[in-house]
Subunit: 281 residues, 2 copies
């Protein structure tokens, strides 16, 4: 299946604004850091199903990486990403260099407050500030009607929903379910860092979340459920957190209620993997 028209590509804010200006509305937007996998393409497909045009961005955002994190070695495949987005039917790819987003003298940050300091924010103190800031910028350039984000990064989606709500950004945020391998492992650009042995053990992350939620549904307290689910995780992995949180605020919940997320982060060596289960009720 070939898209009817070629995808446009913009490298600067000015080019992106001009290209967006001629796109039919409603307009869906899919921000990414590239290294695209079928999880990203599910976001594009969701946008295509609801919108007349789809804009995707590929930008490995330095502001959301901390010192010593994997900014330099984060996987990059511009030619492959471009081909995948064109094939998926995106109308425009915005792929700026860092200097187009953070010119000399740049200094403004957006901070959503306590939500961004818990869980991933506790491990990566400036991460969500970097995410909220860059997405706010991208929204000001692209001015979409709908922003598509993946449930895989549940706290990120909560931070972006809060930023949009608090700042009255005129966009709807649409969360798209996580895409998984056949063995249950959530797709992630960082999965390429796993050794074969670690990859073989990776399904135990999602299995632990299912066990945790199962015990909660049986009436266990959060503490007991976490303690009993913990052994499901492979001994190759270290547990960073396993918890139940309010879906809107990411505050920890003592007992099951909805909407919530069961969330977990683990480390296989230096590679952190995240996963979650949406508790709709």
């Amino acid at each position: 299946m070939t898209p009817a028209t070629a995808m446009a590509v913009a490298a600067t804010v000015e080019q992106a604004r001009a290209a967006v200006g001629v796109l039919p509305r409603p307009l869906g937007f899919v921000p990414t850091m590239g290294a695209l996998h079928p999880g990203h393409l599910a976001l594009v497909a969701a946008a295509r199903a609801e919108c007349a045009s789809v804009v995707a961005s590929v930008f490995v955002n330095p502001a959301q990486f901390g010192p010593g994190e994997d900014f330099e070695r984060y996987p990059r495949d511009y030619a492959g990403d471009r081909a995948k987005l064109e094939h998926a039917g995106a109308s425009l790819l915005f792929a700026p260099e860092s200097g187009a987003i953070y010119p000399p003298g740049y200094s403004t940050v957006i901070d959503v407050g306590p939500m961004g300091a818990r869980y991933e924010g506790a491990v990566r103190p400036t991460h969500f500030r970097g995410v909220a800031t860059v997405v706010s910028k991208l929204l000001n350039v692209v001015r979409p009607d709908v922003l598509y984000v993946g449930q895989k990064d549940a706290q990120q989606t909560a931070v972006l929903r809060k930023m949009v709500r608090d700042l009255d950004v005129p966009v709807r945020v649409q969360i798209v379910p996580t895409v998984r391998e056949d063995d249950g492992v959530a797709l992630s650009s960082r999965n390429v860092y796993l050794t074969a042995e670690q990859r073989a053990a990776a399904p135990t992350l999602h299995a632990m979340l299912r066990a945790f939620l199962g015990r909660l549904r049986e009436g266990a307290s959060g503490e007991a459920a976490a303690r009993e689910a913990r052994p499901v995780l492979s001994p190759l992995a270290q547990l960073d957190y396993l918890d139940l949180v309010d879906a809107d605020t990411f505050e920890p919940l003592a007992a099951l209620r909805s909407p919530a997320f069961a969330i977990a982060a683990v480390r296989f060596g230096n590679t952190r993997l995240l996963d979650n289960i949406w508790v709709a009720r």
Copy 2:
């Protein structure tokens, strides 16, 4: 002179969005904290001269007042403000309650960095964060083509220009010259706090700035010019700062160059007054 059509009034974000949606473009926006004087109305007049519609807001923003500042006693005159704006030809007044701007759970802030920590920001540490955040929100609601701000609050205009530039907000920022009384005192809603004696001495603030700039133009260093201009200020006032700064960054300048501002802040009792002179070259 009566405006052709009655001014609409919106009290909620939803009402404001709906009212803005039917206004002819281009659209000019004048954010205020009310207690309107001819300086504010000069902003409306500038917007009317360039735009098809003018939206004004009246919102005494708690987030830009620090503990112990004058939020509670800040002058308020809603009926008078509304009449003045209608007479001046505004198309829409957005006058929200605090809860419409900061609903329960609100926590997001926008910080422009070091520029917001100098001068006024040194005296009022959270002030410019509050300004940048609320104006960003108002811009997302009103989505104007041009934002009109007064040169009187020069650092505020620099902070807002930086916020707009750094976050790629799609708006042009237009700075409107300060309106003064016949004796040179810059109009300010806080002038009502002055006693008769303080008001009589207030012109020495602008006179000190003129003396400071005169000495700089004669080749004096910033330090020498400030020392020599200082005695022009009335002994009723305490000097907070008198300096020359880069117009874009608000970094102090050692010698005259342009574009710059000569800036000063003084206190008459508990009342702080600001003034500045634009150095265009």
